[in-house]
Amino acid sequence: MNCAEAEIMLHALLDGELDAGHARDVEAHIADCPDCAEKLAAFRAMRAAMAGADLKQKAPAALRARIEAALPAAPASGRASAAVLPLRPSRRSFFSGFGAGAVASGALAASLMLTVFHNDQDQAVANDVVSAHIRSLQANHLMDVETSDQHTVKPWFDGKVDVAPPVIDLTAQGFTLLGGRLDYIDGEPVASVVYRRRKHIINLFVAQHLGAAHAAMTARSVQGYNVRHWSGQGLEFWAVSDLDGEELGEFAGKIAASLRPGAAS
């Protein structure tokens, strides 16, 4: 491999886009070529600087509200009426709060205030659980108890956290139970049940108090990770993964469904 080829390929190396064979080729070239090694180091440093610079501009809350208000196939006569998009008080959370945009615009500002308040609280928790998720992957400390047997994972949490997190076996549905971990979020011990879908790790954080209680599931995305939050059985559930939103939603839906009273556990 010459420098011209390596020049392009080292970016692919940096971006994790090379298969093992090509990665070896590039690394072999870099080992022999101080120029390319220096370039790789410089690009790596720049990449880290970009990651730290918080370049991702967040969509303004007003834009979110506008989109939400316009969403349910607004008829030409104007916005969807409240009859078409009934407001569900139990979903006064992330998205439904924006659903409030569909009511008369006079109420919009007031409902937005409410939404923003709830969002701030939950956004902070969402950031925390995503950080905990990333830590669990980085520190090579994904599991404290490593087993696919739900009857091993569940008792392991006894005495470590003040809740008995439900541990559901979803292997048949394509979500492999990997184990459990004791984590700390905002200084409080939190149970995490770890699942895997293909190569994607899912952390399901369970605690008594972790964000505002919502009966209905809320979805959001933090730093590229998808997050699902819902409440039930007196517990708060936060599922975090790099899995795409649809599949994580499926996972969360299955967990929530299996916990509802009457469902076989």
């Binding site: 970016h11 971006d15 370049l55 989109i67 939400e68 795409d244």
Partner: protein
């Protein structure tokens, strides 16, 4: 009517769950393409309305690149409508890639201001100053976290083109960074 409304309601709910988590991604890319907050707002809203209209026929690929492809089309249509000449709208820039100056001395910016400028702000400015299509490529990679394949799909170019644009974009950023830092490039 009730059944229709119910279906639409369900569709809207599924769409929200699938698409709204990527609102920040769409907004970040719109800001990068249009470089104007109000225009970015409009483009993102239009993108979501279009995406919702076509949601019934959506069968993949992944939601994020699908949305960003729509967004990019909206932005390009906007450039066309305005009759603005922006390199984002076509591929002619690629042919002239070698003519793009790597970096021009920041004559307009006093040295003292540069020193005060925080590193993060410098990076933001340098990315914003990258010419298209290099700007959108680096933004989709570093900010939207798309794979090469997904970037290729959104931009409608081969993966090889994505790779060379990315290498070029990082090269320009590196030179610009060194210049801004006052280090030898």
């Amino acid at each position: 009517m009730a059944g229709y409304a119910g279906d639409e309601h369900d569709k809207a709910r599924r769409f929200r769950d699938a698409a709204l988590p990527y609102l920040d991604d769409a907004y970040a890319l719109a800001r990068c393409l249009l470089r104007n907050a109000a225009d970015a707002d409009d483009a993102v809203q239009e993108c979501y309305l279009r995406a919702f209209r076509h949601f019934d026929s959506y069968r993949g690929p992944a939601m994020k690149p699908w949305l960003l492809t729509i967004l990019r089309n909206v932005c390009n249509a906007e450039f066309t409508r305005r009759g603005k000449l922006d390199p984002a709208a076509d591929g002619e820039f690629e042919a002239n890639a070698e003519d793009v100056p790597l970096w021009q001395e920041p004559q307009a910016t006093p040295e003292s201001a540069l020193v005060r400028e925080h590193d993060d702000a410098i990076i933001r400015r340098l990315v914003a100053e990258l010419p298209q299509p290099f700007r959108e490529t680096i933004v989709m990679r570093e900010i939207n976290d798309l794979s090469y394949q997904e970037i290729a799909q959104v931009a409608g170019v081969p993966v090889g083109t994505v790779m060379s644009r990315l290498a070029r974009a990082r090269g320009m950023l590196r030179s610009a960074w060194n210049a801004a830092e006052g280090a030898p490039s």
